[in-house]
């Protein structure tokens, strides 16, 4: 391939489409390039026609100011003041581009700017933002098609292909960013417009305004139609599919942000795929939401087109950021099988759960909750505070009475753990004590017990503790007998005390199990 012809466009191009202008033989497609406020039509590699968007109404006050400037009746500072006041009144976007430019200039440049421009009539022009085509009355591949374009002024126009008159003008509530057209102009058509405010609108034949279809979570970066669904790529790296009524059918999160999108319609396989160029240089092919193939590209692909190229039916043509052109031809034997590439969510996820109907009780409860929301919240908060207070109180109590099995403060950091072994009526109470300090040994400590003497009898009520070296685990044991015959259980408290001191260093509370031996005697 080599460059066939080159044309310079004055402004940045915003859209390129090829379309069939007339029914004359031989059928030669024309190329329409949208740029600024014009559409340039090329035929046989030569400029053919230039269509200019209709001018918009200018604020009378603004026109008045420029008329005065033309006759040199107004000085620069007052002119700037007046224009600024008009701007605050009608908004920046409703001023003509000349006034917008004027207000941006430095004071010393104003004089020259006005001098250069004042001779020409003031015009306010809008800019084409997106361009598409629609077949006029026949659905054949080489049938005549109309141009469909969206403008900065929130209008959507349909142009007649021969004379370039506006056949239909419609408005949407925001600036269109992408257009997707289906149907025939003379029969029935539907235009899906993705706007800059992240909302999709649908336009139908005979309607002047767009109907809200979908509110997206993010700004759209691509709009496609696959069968009867709309697929939108968003700035938040997601690909979503919507039904024509606006219901979200699926959304998938992509690994990187989307740069370009295109549909692949393989007729002999009867499938439609979505191809997405990602900013990490991968080209991903999706069938519905299942990834069927990944093609790495050497560079970030910025534009994709799929269709017939020369004699080859299924060709994917891509342009890269670095200015490269990649042509890929689909293999005749290619198969797209989603199952062996991506498992996707399990089938159970798609099963509908049989949710029972809302009962009257549920409805009443909902109503009650809705009406008394504030009161319920308050009482919940009240209870929560009480709970927290009780917890804090108990904690303080535990701290003050050294009821914890770990003592941290003071001179002796100790850890105590107690175990009950046996089934009863005779238990073995095993105690383990450890000095958790790094260098300070503990001396003159002993264990003692407190329990209900009607239920338990402790064999050794006083166990002296040997010299506790830091870090080592010491264990001692005693026999405990359950003397009650009622089959009840109680707690035994174990204290660690220092000789000649009344307050225990640590306490362990042991919940005794029910004596099995007693139970068997019943």
């Amino acid at each position: 391939t080599h460059l066939l012809s080159e044309h310079t466009v004055i402004d940045l191009p915003t859209g390129v489409v090829a379309f069939q202008m007339d029914t004359c033989d031989p059928k030669v497609s024309a190329i329409a390039v949208a740029s600024g406020g014009h559409i340039y039509v090329y035929k046989n590699m030569r400029p053919f026609y230039k269509f200019t968007l209709p001018t918009l109404n200018i604020e009378p006050a603004e026109l008045e100011v420029w008329n005065q400037a033309k006759e040199d009746k107004i000085d620069m500072s007052s002119m700037k003041e007046v224009l600024e006041s008009i701007r605050t009144e009608v908004g920046e976007s409703n001023l003509s581009s000349r006034s917008q430019r004027f207000l941006m200039l430095e004071p010393e440049e104003l004089e020259e700017f006005v001098h250069v421009h004042k001779q020409f009539p003031l015009k306010r022009q809008t800019v084409v933002t997106c361009l598409s085509t629609m077949k006029k009355s026949m659905a054949e591949d080489d049938a005549v098609s109309c141009l469909v374009l969206g403008t900065e002024n929130k209008d959507v126009y349909v142009l007649e292909p021969d004379a370039f008159t506006i056949l239909a003008a419609m408005t949407v509530p925001s600036v269109p960013a992408f257009l997707n057209v289906t149907g025939l102009f003379d029969v029935e058509y539907r235009i899906i417009v993705a706007c800059r405010d992240g909302i999709l609108y649908t336009l139908k034949r005979g309607f002047k305004t767009g109907r809200l279809c979908v509110e997206l979570l993010s700004q759209p970066v691509g709009l496609l139609r696959v069968k009867n669904t709309v697929v939108v790529g968003c700035m938040d790296q997601t690909l979503s599919c919507f039904s024509m009524k606006g219901r979200n059918l699926w959304t998938i999160k992509l690994e990187s942000s989307i740069v370009a999108m295109e549909t692949i319609d393989i007729t002999y396989l009867g499938i439609q795929l979505i191809v997405i160029a990602l900013s990490n240089g991968l080209i991903q092919l999706y069938q519905d939401k299942y990834l069927v193939d990944v093609v790495p590209a050497e560079d970030v692909v910025t534009g994709i087109k799929f269709g017939r190229y020369g004699r080859e039916e299924n060709t994917l043509i891509m342009t890269t950021r670095g200015g490269g052109l990649i042509i890929k031809i689909l293999k005749r034997t290619a198969k797209f099988d989603p199952k062996n590439l991506t498992p996707g969510p399990p089938a159970a996820q798609h099963m509908k759960l049989s949710v029972p109907k809302k009962t009257k009780l549920f409805v009443d409860q909902t109503m009650h909750e809705r009406e008394n929301a504030v009161r319920m919240h308050r009482s919940f908060q009240h209870d929560l505070y009480r709970l927290r207070l009780n917890t804090a109180r108990s904690y303080v109590k535990v701290l003050t009475s050294s009821l914890t099995p770990v003592s941290t403060g003071g001179s002796d950091p100790l850890k105590l753990s107690a175990q009950i072994q046996g089934l009863g009526p005779v238990f073995r109470l095993r105690l383990e004590i450890q000095n958790t300090s790094t260098d300070k040994p503990s001396t003159n400590l002993f264990f003692t017990f407190h329990c209900d003497v009607r239920i338990y009898r402790v064999d050794k009520t006083f166990i002296p503790i040997p010299f506790l070296a830091p870090g080592l685990l010491y264990s001692s044991a005693t026999k405990v007998e359950c003397v009650s015959e009622l089959g009840i259980s109680d707690v035994i408290k174990v204290f660690v005390l220092r000789e000649n001191e009344g307050v225990p260093l640590i306490t362990a509370i042991i919940n005794m199990p029910i004596s099995e031996g007693m139970m068997s005697s019943y």
């Binding site: 190229y309 020369g310 004699r311 080859e312 042509i327 031809i329 005749r332 034997t333």
Partner: protein, 190 residues
């Protein structure tokens, strides 16, 4: 049928007939090449894209050919493999001016060479780098490089640049395949 041909068939000369398969992408010039070998009265003036296949008979240097002129269109290419089993030679036609689709031709060639009916048989393959008259046509060396013919060791092959409209280069190629087929017949007799 004349007396002489009856006599010839009795003596066993009639068996000198080879079936060859003519394949290649659509618009590469297969039917035009076959048309060139047909006798004057059978020649068609305008060649239309082949649908399915055409079977043509012609004679070069006392060897009769039955040529299966396959359609090269994508949707008919899966017919090729059904004829691999009982062919004696293959003619693969490449449009040397279509540098973009040479990769597609290579793909089809590789698939053919991997096919079970072709893989283990020594079948002579003749390549025509057709449309050599066009300005943007690649040379036969470049075409053989693009098709990766250097790596094809198991088959005897030959490539020649051709122009099917004037018949340039066709005779040379067909003489090569005739010699190959005759040689193989002799090999089989031993």
């Amino acid at each position: 049928m004349g007396l002489f041909s009856k006599l010839a068939s009795l003596l066993g000369f009639k068996r000198k007939e080879a079936s060859i398969l003519v394949v290649g992408l659509d618009n590469s010039g297969k039917s035009t090449i076959i048309n060139h070998f047909k006798s004057e009265e059978d020649k068609t003036i305008d060649i239309v894209p082949t649908v399915g296949l055409n079977v043509e008979k012609f004679k070069v240097k006392s060897l009769g050919f039955i040529a299966f002129d396959m359609s090269g269109q994508g949707r008919y290419r899966n017919l090729w493999e059904h004829y691999y089993q009982d062919v004696n030679g293959i003619i693969f036609v490449v449009d040397s001016s279509d540098s973009l689709r040479i990769i597609v031709a290579k793909d089809e060639l590789d698939m053919m060479l991997q096919h079970k009916d072709i893989k283990d048989r020594n079948i002579p393959i003749l390549f025509f780098a057709n449309k050599m008259d066009l300005r943007e046509a690649l040379s036969s060396v470049k075409v053989s490089q693009a098709l990766g013919l250097d790596n094809m060791k198991s088959k005897s092959w030959h490539i020649c640049a051709s122009n099917a409209l004037t018949g340039e280069g066709l005779q040379e190629g067909v003489e090569w395949i005739t010699d190959q087929l005759k040689y193989m017949v002799e090999q089989n007799k031993r």
